[in-house]
C-alpha cells in the first residue's frame, strides 16, 4: 500500500488541549460569510423568489430537507401551498421537479451542491437536461464554504456539471447578484444549476453599479498589470486583492464571469488580448474542470497565448476547520491571492 493510502488512514492531527482563556477557531462558523466585516443582506435568494412569485403562479419550490439551509424557507413561509418538502430524497426531488416542469411549472429545487452534483446527477441529466426542462437547481455550500470536510464541500461540482449538455451554470458573487440572477434564471427557458451563498450574504457589487446578465462576463474594474477572471465568492477576493495590490503599485483588472456555462468566451478572449497582462483565473472550486480550465482552453482555442495562472482549490480532499483558516491554507483568502500575484510578477 502506498504512503498516500497510509496517510488517509492515520490522522495527521495530534492530541491537542484547548488553551485556557483562549478560543480556538471553530468550524461552526460555516457557510455564512458574515464574519468578514461587510454589509450583508439576509437570504437574498429566498426574498427574490418570493418577490418573483407574486407575479408568476408557475413558480414552485422544492427541497430535500434543506429549506432552512438554502433560504427557501422564506418562500415556504410566504407560499406554503407552492412549497414541496420532498424529504431527504434527492432523486425524487429532482425527478418530481421534472414532472412539475412537464406540467408547465417552473420549479426551484434546492439542496447542497454536493448532493445535487454527486447524488442526483443521473436524474438531473436524464429527467431534466435531456428534455431541456426549465428546472432551476439552486445549491448551497459551493466549493469551500463549510468547514465540515469533503462530505459537505462541493469542490468539484462545476467539473461534474459542466459536462452536461443544455445546462446553464451560474456562480454568483454576492447578495446583489443572487437577487438579480434568481430573476434572470427564472426567465431562462432551460435548466439551470446555480451555486448559492446563503444566510447573511455580503453586499459587494452594490458599489460597482453592476447588473447581472445571464451569459455575460463584465469588467468590474480595469487594470494594466493583471487581469483577474473570477466567479462566485472569488470575485469578492479578487476585488479586495486588487485594492491591496494597488498600494504596492500593481494595477489589477477584475473580469467577473458568473455564468460558467455557456462561458462568455468572446469577452474573456478580448480582454485577455489587451496589453500583455498576466491573466489569473480565480475560482472557489477545484483547479480541475472549473472556470480556470474553461478559460485556459478557450484562450488556447482562440490562439491567445497570454501568460496564464490559476487560483483555485487543490485537487484533494480538503480538511475540516474554520473557514478563515481553510481559505488561507488553500490559497483563496485575500492575503493568499495577493501574495500569489506578487510572486508571479516578480
Amino acid at each position: 500500500m502506498s504512503d498516500q493510502h497510509l496517510s488517509r488512514r492515520q490522522s495527521k492531527y495530534t492530541a491537542r488541549t484547548a488553551p485556557k482563556g483562549e478560543k480556538l477557531a471553530t468550524s461552526a462558523m460555516i457557510a455564512s460569510l458574515d464574519s468578514e466585516g461587510r454589509d450583508t443582506i439576509a437570504a437574498p435568494f429566498g426574498h427574490a423568489l418570493v418577490d418573483l412569485a407574486k407575479d408568476r403562479a408557475d413558480i414552485v419550490g422544492l427541497t430535500a430537507d434543506l429549506s432552512k439551509y438554502t433560504d427557501l424557507h422564506v418562500f415556504a413561509k410566504a407560499y406554503p401551498d407552492r412549497f414541496y418538502q420532498m424529504g431527504m430524497a434527492e432523486a425524487v426531488m429532482i425527478s418530481a421537479a421534472a414532472g412539475l416542469a412537464r406540467e408547465g411549472f417552473t420549479p426551484f429545487a434546492t439542496t447542497y451542491a454536493v448532493f445535487a452534483s454527486r447524488r442526483a446527477y443521473d436524474f438531473i441529466i436524464m429527467a431534466i437536461a435531456e428534455e431541456n426542462l426549465p428546472v432551476k437547481i439552486v445549491c448551497a455550500l459551493p466549493g469551500l464554504t463549510t468547514g465540515y470536510g469533503p462530505s459537505h464541500q462541493a469542490t468539484e461540482d462545476i467539473a461534474i456539471m459542466r459536462g452536461m449538455p443544455n445546462l446553464t451554470i451560474v456562480d454568483p458573487c454576492d447578495a446583489v447578484e443572487i437577487d438579480q440572477a434568481t430573476r434572470a434564471i427564472a426567465d431562462h427557458p432551460g435548466p439551470v444549476y446555480m451555486r448559492l451563498l446563503r444566510g447573511q450574504v455580503p453586499n459587494v457589487l452594490g458599489e460597482y453599479g453592476y447588473r447581472f446578465k445571464l451569459g455575460k462576463a463584465q469588467m468590474l474594474r480595469d487594470g494594466r498589470d493583471v487581469l483577474f477572471v473570477s466567479s462566485g465568492l472569488m470575485t469578492m477576493r479578487t476585488l479586495d486583492a486588487a485594492k491591496r495590490l494597488q498600494q504596492d503599485g500593481i494595477d489589477c483588472g477584475v473580469l467577473h464571469a458568473p455564468t460558467i456555462k455557456p462561458l462568455d468566451i468572446e469577452t474573456i478572449v478580448a480582454e485577455a488580448r489587451k496589453g500583455g497582462r498576466l491573466v489569473v483565473t480565480a475560482e472557489n472550486h477545484s483547479v480541475v474542470g472549473g472556470l480556470g480550465e474553461a478559460v485556459g482552453a478557450a484562450l488556447m482555442r482562440a490562439g491567445a497565448h497570454v501568460p496564464f495562472r490559476q487560483i483555485g482549490l487543490p485537487d484533494a480532499f480538503l480538511d475540516a476547520g474554520a473557514l478563515p483558516t481553510l481559505h488561507d491554507q488553500y490559497g483563496i483568502s485575500v492575503d493568499a491571492v495577493a501574495a500569489a500575484v506578487k510572486e508571479w510578477l516578480e
Binding site: 414552485v60 429532482i94 412539475l100 406540467e103 436524474f123 436524464m126 429527467a127 435531456e130 428534455e131
Partner: protein
C-alpha cells in the same frame, strides 16, 4: 369469456388489440433481427387494456391537455409501446419498417424528443415513478382530473430512487397516480427474484401505503378489473397494479427459451412466430 373483454369505445375486442400489438412488435423485431420482443409479447395484454380500455387520449393530438399521461420508464420496452401506439393510430403503420433505423422516430430506447405520444425519456431505470410524482402534483395544482400511469419493470424495483418515489407518492396522497409493474421475473443477467430479494412484492407496496393489486397480467379480464378498481378506488393514496406476465407470451417456442431478456431469434423464426400468432387471431 377470458381474453375477450370488449373495448368500451369500440367493438374490437381487447384480445384482438393485444394480438395486433404482438404482431406489430414481431414485425419491428424482424426489422432489426433482434430486440426486446420477449417483453413486448409479455406486456401486450397490459398495454391493450391501457390504451383501449383505461386511458383517455386523442390519437391525433398526443399532447392534448386533458389526456391521461402514460409514462414508460423502461426505455427498452419502446418496441411494445410503438406497437401499441400504431394500433391506436397515434403513430402511422407505415413506420414499422423504420424501427431502430437511422433517422427513425422509433429508436430502440424510448425518448420523448423522438416520438409523438412518448411522454418521457426512459432507459435510465428508476426515473419514471419520480417524474410521475411531480406530474401528479402538477395536475393537482392545475385541478386537472387526468391520471398519470407509469409502466415500470420488476428489475426497476431494485433502484433506490423508485422507493423514494413510492414513499413520496404516499406522502402527497397521489390518488391520480397508477403504477403498473410488469413482473416477468427477467432482467439482463437472469431472474429478478434471484438478484435483489423482491418477494413478497405486493406486501411491500401495501406496507408503504399503496392501494395494491396483484394480477395475472396475461388474463385480460383480470387486468381490466384491476385497472377499473385502481381508478375507482376512493382512498387518498396512490395505486399499483402488479402484473405477473409471461415473457414471450403467445409464441410457445420463444416462451421456452432460457434467456429471454434479449431473446435470440433466428432469421427464419420470425415467419414461424407470425404464423403461430396468426393461427390464433381472435375475433
Amino acid at each position: 369469456m377470458a381474453g375477450q373483454a370488449l373495448d368500451k369505445r369500440s367493438n374490437v375486442s381487447l384480445a384482438r388489440r393485444a394480438w395486433a400489438i404482438r404482431r406489430n412488435a414481431l414485425l419491428m423485431g424482424e426489422v432489426q433481427g433482434q430486440g426486446y420482443i420477449g417483453q413486448a409479447l409479455g406486456v401486450a395484454d397490459v398495454l391493450a387494456v391501457s390504451y383501449f380500455h383505461a386511458l383517455t387520449y386523442r390519437a391525433d393530438d398526443p399532447e392534448w391537455e386533458g389526456r391521461d399521461r402514460f409514462y414508460l420508464s423502461i426505455g427498452h420496452y419502446a418496441i411494445a409501446l410503438y406497437a401499441t401506439m400504431i394500433e391506436a393510430g397515434i403513430l402511422p403503420e407505415g413506420e414499422i419498417g423504420t424501427y431502430g433505423m437511422d433517422d427513425s422516430r422509433m429508436p430502440m430506447s424510448g425518448m420523448a424528443a423522438y416520438t409523438p405520444g412518448m411522454e418521457i425519456t426512459g432507459g435510465s431505470l428508476g426515473h419514471g415513478l419520480g417524474i410521475a410524482v411531480g406530474a401528479a402534483l402538477g395536475l393537482k395544482r392545475k385541478k386537472n382530473p387526468a391520471f398519470i400511469y407509469n409502466l415500470l419493470s420488476d428489475g426497476e424495483l431494485g433502484e433506490g430512487s423508485t422507493w423514494e418515489a413510492v414513499m413520496s407518492a404516499v406522502q402527497w396522497k397521489l390518488d391520480n397516480l397508477i403504477a403498473v409493474v410488469d413482473f416477468n421475473n427477467q432482467q439482463a443477467d437472469g431472474p429478478t427474484t434471484q438478484a435483489l430479494a423482491q418477494v413478497p412484492e405486493a406486501a411491500k407496496w401495501e406496507a408503504f401505503g399503496w392501494f395494491t393489486q396483484s394480477v395475472d397480467g396475461n388474463d385480460m379480464d383480470a387486468v381490466v378489473a384491476a385497472f377499473d378498481a385502481a381508478r375507482a378506488h376512493d382512498g387518498a393514496q396512490p395505486r399499483v397494479i402488479i402484473c405477473n406476465t409471461q415473457m414471450c407470451k403467445g409464441i410457445p417456442f420463444l416462451e421456452d427459451r432460457e434467456i429471454t431478456h434479449f431473446v435470440r431469434v433466428e432469421p427464419q423464426e420470425w415467419a414461424k412466430a407470425l404464423n403461430i400468432l396468426d393461427e390464433g387471431k381472435p375475433a
